[in-house]
């Protein structure tokens, strides 16, 4: 993937299985968001391909892409209609229940906390019950308690509905805890693809996963 003379991503190839949770980690400017944008169909790669069509992918942007003047239910209803979900009201009710926001359905989104807005943001991404869910730094605006609720919800999707989840994060601890596999990107290159434990093994004895990640990058000149 090129932006003018700059190559944002180079030779990045990976597969993800149904029900697998994949974390994309790396320093700033590594190409994490670009990778997710290509997977979501927001950007067209200058070379290469994505086997899943964009319409089969649920996308959750980093900042809540919702209308603050509409209620929670109205936001869900609008996007369900635009997604051409067969039973709009059923989908809205299901997502309100899954997001735990049924009692706030009539509230304007602007009156909700950042965490609840992010839950609606994710719920919209799941409206069409996609087999793949892409989350761009989903927990960056959440407090620890809300993060816990979020990851319980996402883990449940993978476990119970076999949804493939790919997320980017700067919180490597989250990647270690919730991801089945991690992809390490730096300067647009895929440096590593494997389980968090395999990344720790790759650098020998590190105090924790974060230390192992930092040492891994340093050893590869990043």
């Amino acid at each position: 993937m090129r932006f003018g003379r700059r190559t944002a991503l180079r030779d990045v190839t990976f597969t993800a299985q149904p029900g697998e949770i994949l974390a994309v980690i790396g320093p700033n400017g590594a190409g994490k968001t670009t990778l997710l944008s290509i997977l979501a169909g927001l950007q067209v790669p200058s070379a290469g391909c994505v086997s899943h069509g964009a319409r089969h992918v649920g996308w959750v942007p980093q900042q809540a892409a919702v209308y603050r003047k509409l209620s929670v239910a109205e936001n869900l209803r609008l996007f369900a209609r635009l997604e051409r979900v067969p039973d709009v009201e059923e989908a809205v009710t299901r997502m309100l229940d899954q997001a735990g926001l049924a009692d706030r359905a009539r509230d304007e989104l602007g009156t909700l906390s950042g965490g609840n807005q992010q839950r609606v943001n994710i719920a919209i991404g799941l409206l069409s019950d996609p087999p793949v869910l892409l989350l761009d730094e989903p927990s960056s605006s959440l407090d620890p308690r809300q993060r816990e609720v979020l990851w319980t919800f996402v883990s449940g999707l993978a476990r119970e509905r076999s949804t493939t989840v790919v997320f980017t994060t700067h919180n490597v601890g989250e990647a270690e805890r919730y991801a089945d596999r991690v992809l390490v990107l730096a300067d647009g290159e895929l440096l590593f693809g494997g389980t968090p434990a395999q990344l720790g093994d790759a650098v020998g004895d590190a105090a924790d996963f974060e230390a192992a990640f930092v040492r891994f990058l340093r050893e590869r000149g990043h």
Binding site: G41, A54, Q63, V66, K69, R81, L82, E83, E108
Partner: protein
């Protein structure tokens, strides 16, 4: 189309949730539209002119054709065009101008009635009645207006006096021709008249013996009298043409003109359409990015073109509703032709579409609502100003440039369409303006679509 409908409903819901903003926007458009409309269709307000009349009240009249005329009635006519500040002396009038309280001072000298009497007495007089006028130099626009107003009123008074004098001259000539009595300087005269003179001469010539040399001389004088009679019969029409030698037959070169009030309504509606159409369309398109929903929408849910068209329609809808409210409000003060409703409604909708489309072009260039609103304001004011530049106010080539630039924006064609629809009953001018607006709307939608390319779906 389904996606467009869903988006339109969503945007109307958002607008409905912002009632204060909506009311303020509508009020702003109406409050701006009304004064702009009336300002551009009105001459400048009456300028304040210091006025000193040195003529004593007892000497205010003069004699014309045996009738007494009051000179003050000419001043009353003048006061319809200026706002007089009456003062007690010549110096006080000049001081008012120096202090800035008045833009000019008009002084009527004490001897003006006598001078006028001498002028109209048909005795011939070198002394012409003269008014004194002093101007302030700091306001050339008002000075021009005062000068033109007073000159026009003096010309009007001169013409009225000229007509009276011509009438009196005609009466004198009639007496010379037909004979009869008239009074001059308090004395009564009985005039024989040319016709009666000719009859008498004819009688004398007939009574003289044939071959008498006196008969030939009398006949010669009679023929001269007859010649004078024949030519003086034409004197009325000749004098009438002298008193009003040049008349003005005013016509416009591009169809009938509108009344000032009708034109004011068209301007007010155009201004309202402009503000609402631009602000709503630009703001609501920018809102999609401000809410980070743009990327989510164009990721296969809604095409960028549909998004642009939907916002243009939304802007047009809001502008049309506001303009209709303004029509209702204006109809309380100024009759609006309901029989022409299809014409001005077509103009209203086409204008709203033009501004809505221009609004999305602005919205496509900006990332947030504040920037789009600011850009809409910055563009709308010069666009309106350009369209209102009257011909003759700038040089010919500069005016052509102004016309060409104004044609790129919807203000001028909207104003032309509304003026034609409201005041002139349509015609080719309305059709041309409607076609112009549709073309502009299509062009701006294309511009907006191109403008949106610079924003990635992730924005």
């Amino acid at each position: 189309m389904t996606a467009l409908r869903h988006l339109l409903v969503k945007d109307l819901q958002i607008l409905r949730r912002s009632p204060l903003l909506l009311v303020l926007l509508a009020l702003y458009a109406i409050v701006i539209g009304l004064p702009v409309g009336y300002a551009v269709s009105r001459p400048p307000s009456k300028p304040k002119v210091a006025f000193f009349n040195a003529v004593p009240p007892s000497s205010n009249t003069f004699q014309l054709g045996g009738e007494s005329r009051d000179a003050s009635r000419y001043a009353d006519e003048l006061f319809e065009s200026i706002d007089p500040i009456r003062v007690d002396s010549r110096q006080a009038a000049i001081d008012k101008v120096k202090s800035g309280e008045a833009v000019a001072a008009l002084i009527v000298p004490a001897d003006i009635t006598q001078a006028l009497q001498a002028t109209v007495s048909l005795s011939g007089s070198a002394q012409k009645p003269e008014l004194e006028l002093f101007y302030a130099a700091d306001n050339p626009l008002k000075r021009r207006y005062v000068e033109d107003t007073i000159n026009a009123q003096v010309a009007k008074a001169n013409r009225a006096l000229g007509e009276e004098l011509t009438k009196i001259a005609g009466q004198y000539l009639g007496i010379l021709l037909q004979g009869g009595g008239f009074s001059l300087l308090g004395q009564k005269f009985d005039v024989l008249g040319l016709k009666r003179s000719a009859e008498i001469l004819q009688g004398v010539a007939t009574a003289l013996p044939e071959g008498d040399p006196k008969a030939a001389a009398v006949q010669r004088v009679r023929r001269f009298a007859q010649l004078a009679i024949d030519n003086l019969d034409l004197s009325d029409s000749v004098l009438a043409s002298i008193s009003d030698p040049i008349s003005v037959n005013a016509q416009t070169v591009d169809g009938p003109t509108s009344s000032l009030d009708g034109y004011a309504v068209a301007v007010a509606l155009t201004v309202a359409l402009m503000f609402i159409g631009l602000l709503v369309a630009a703001g609501m398109l920018a809102l999609e990015r401000e809410e980070h929903a743009f990327g989510r929408l164009v990721r296969g849910l809604v095409g960028r073109t549909i998004l642009v068209v939907e916002k243009a329609l939304l802007g047009a809808l809001a502008a049309t509703v506001t303009a209709l409210l303004l029509v209702l409000l204006l109809s309380l003060f100024q009759p609006v032709r309901l029989d022409r409703a299809p014409l001005w409604l077509a103009a209203l909708v086409a204008g709203a579409l033009g501004f809505g489309a221009m609004g999305v072009a602005i919205g496509a260039l900006t990332r947030d609502v504040r920037a789009s609103s600011l850009l809409a304001f910055l563009l709308s004011l010069p666009v309106a100003a350009l369209a209102l530049v009257p011909s003759g106010s700038v040089g010919a080539s500069a005016y052509e440039v102004v016309q060409a630039v104004a044609a790129l924006f919807p203000f001028k064609p909207t104003l032309e369409a509304l003026d034609a629809g409201l005041n002139r009953g349509g015609g080719s001018e309305l059709t041309g303006a409607l076609v112009h607006l549709i073309a502009l709307a299509a062009g701006y939608v294309v511009l907006a679509r191109v403008g949106l390319r610079r924003f990635g779906a992730g924005t």
